[in-house]
């Protein structure tokens, strides 16, 4: 039972493992080459695991397995094994995984049910399918919309929300279902800067409330500061895994696989010119500034 196991994660603290992949591989029925291969990875509760890698490296495939979509809904040949919340992904009963994992996709609108006229109804949809009492549905929906800051827009048509609001609505749907784990597949890749900021601060808030988050992002700029762990995929396998600050300490080595945030690139450049900035990469512009000021102070 993976879910009961305990083990150290890369940050050194000990938390429960909720998903484990062993030499895992997926070849979609419609593809000739594997999209994931020989992938070994454990994911921990109460952490934000940030997954990155080049386009086509298998990030979406990995989170689709995690969310219970592969191989049940999207068929493919499986190798090795993967367990999510104690269920083997190949033999898990219907809904056993999807009931516990909330999923937010990259396109804010394609993930709407398209069968509702209000943000309220959109959020209520899953609860109606669960057969909850109408009064409980109202409570949970309003609670969820409240916590993503959309309570005022409950009566708005979901398609008329902005991209950022729509992504928050997708998060609200998972919250209303009280799913303990949230998986986001590049949730800001199709958003403008305002929408991106909304979603980043929303995920930050959920982390402070101890929601377990697995987040795929090709652009790491906004996420490093709240990530507990960074996993890099390339060619369908894990090529690096560790704390963001130590993994990015040698950004040059990762440049083929990772879009290096500007503050990390500047830090690396300054360091290569002999400025003493420590050996942990900054995880945001603020941290870069702080280490610059510290080195200034030390230097004279």
């Amino acid at each position: 039972m993976v879910s009961g196991a305990r083990g150290p994660d890369s940050t050194g603290s000990r938390t429960a493992v909720f998903a484990g992949f062993q030499e895992f591989g997926v070849t979609y029925d419609t593809a000739s080459t594997p999209s994931l291969t020989g992938l070994t990875l454990e994911l921990h509760s109460d952490k934000l695991t940030l997954i990155t890698g080049p386009s086509g490296s298998g990030k979406s495939t990995l989170v689709r397995v995690l969310a219970g979509f592969i191989p049940r809904l999207l068929h493919g040949k499986i190798e090795g094994s993967a367990e999510v919340l104690g269920n083997d992904v190949e033999s898990a009963p219907p809904n056993s995984i999807t009931d516990s994992i909330g999923m937010v996709f990259d396109n804010p609108f394609d993930q709407l049910t398209a069968a509702t006229k209000t943000a309220f109804d959109e959020t209520a949809y899953a609860l109606e399918n669960e057969g909850l009492h109408p009064a409980e549905i109202v409570d949970r929906v309003m609670g969820a919309l409240e916590s993503v800051g959309l309570a005022d827009l409950a009566g708005h048509h979901p398609r008329r929300l902005s991209g950022g609001q729509s992504q928050r609505l997708a998060i609200a749907c998972a919250l209303a279902q009280q799913k303990p784990i949230l998986v986001l597949d590049d949730p800001t890749s199709q958003l403008d800067p305002t929408g991106t900021a909304e979603v980043v601060s929303m995920v930050g808030k959920l982390r402070r409330e101890h929601t377990t988050v697995v987040l795929v992002a090709q652009d790491l700029t906004h996420w490093l500061a709240i990530a507990d762990r960074l996993v890099i995929l390339d060619g369908g396998r894990v090529t690096a895994d560790g704390s963001p600050a130590s993994l990015l300490a040698e950004p040059g080595l990762l440049a083929d696989q990772v879009m290096i945030p500007r503050y990390v690139a500047i830090w690396a450049e300054l360091r290569s010119r002999g400025i003493e900035l420590g050996d942990r990469a900054p995880l945001g512009t603020d941290q870069l500034l702080a280490s610059l000021q510290a080195s200034d102070g030390a230097g004279g």
Binding site: R64, A67, G68, F69, L73, L74, P94, N95, T98, D99, I101, G102, M103, F105, N107, F109, D110, Q111, L112, T113, A114, A115, T116, K117, F120, D121, A124, Y125, A126, L127, E128, N129, E130, G131, L132, H133, P134, I137, V138, V141, R159, A170, C173, Q177
Partner: protein
């Protein structure tokens, strides 16, 4: 892109809804739906325009008095193109035995044809106005909930609701792609072969983006319990009432069919 007002799809029907609180809004959705059948059948009574015309006049007056003039307008928009086509086919195009009442060169208008076109159009109008009255005054979700309460599968109800939402989305996507193509220098006017080339250029990304959208929506629905077995509830509570009235309305269609055949 103009709305295709002549197509009768669940999407168009679900999209008819207008917010309001008239007496017709308060009638149970399935009662309104059940009333469509006897009304439509009654429109076929007699072999002239008389019966459907009387039904239409009463219906239009009732709607106007009930402040539901919008229903009349929507119905007109829906039947106008069909009516026009009927008059062209029956009045002008179809050859008749009797003498034409007017003719210009090859075009001639025939009284028999006009009467037939008028009667057919009026019968059609009775059906359209009945459906439009029902669907303009019931929120799609309330309608779907009422259907599910009576045992209609929730997947069918979903298809009905999603139809209404996805049609405009497809249209929007098509026009966005078209805009993008135009801004890339594609000619949407130009000669016929050019326009065909544009059409193909338009269709491919539309198809691809729709398919990706469908896959994502399927997964998203699944993570919201779409295929879950067991009882479902609805956040809107629809009182399950009017069964007897609804059955009576449906039953009333039977003597009306007999009447329409015999008359």
């Amino acid at each position: 892109m103009e709305a295709d007002t002549t197509t009768w799809s669940p999407a168009r029907v679900a999209a008819l809804y207008d917010v309001g609180n008239t007496w017709l809004h308060r009638v149970h959705p399935l009662t309104k739906l059940a009333a469509v059948l006897p009304l439509t059948v009654a429109g076929f009574a007699g072999d002239s325009i008389r019966v459907p015309a009387v039904i239409l006049i009463v219906a239009v007056l009732t709607l106007l008095v009930s402040r539901l003039g919008s229903v009349v307008l929507k119905s007109l928009r829906l039947i106008a193109p069909m009516t026009f086509a009927l008059f062209v086919i029956h009045g002008v195009v179809r050859p008749y035995e009797s003498e034409p009442i007017a003719s210009w060169g090859p075009i001639s208008i025939n009284a028999e044809g006009l009467a037939l076109a008028g009667t057919t159009a009026a019968r059609l109008a009775v059906f359209v106005i009945a459906v439009t009255s029902a669907m303009t005054t019931v929120h799609p979700k309330v309608f779907a909930t009422a259907l599910i309460q009576r045992g209609v599968s929730h997947k069918l109800a979903y298809a009905y609701l999603a139809g209404a939402e996805l049609l405009p989305e497809m249209r929007l996507r098509a026009s966005q792609i078209l805009d993008a193509q135009q801004s890339r220098g594609f000619d949407t006017k130009g000669s016929l072969p050019r326009r065909f080339r544009t059409l193909f250029a338009l269709l491919k990304p539309l198809l691809v983006s729709s398919l990706i959208g469908v896959e994502m929506r399927t997964l998203a629905l699944e993570s919201r319990g779409f295929s879950r077995l067991g009882r479902r509830t609805s956040a809107v509570e629809v009182e399950d009432r009017g069964k007897l009235l609804q059955r009576s309305l449906l039953a009333a269609a039977i003597p009306l069919v007999v009447l329409a055949i015999l008359w």
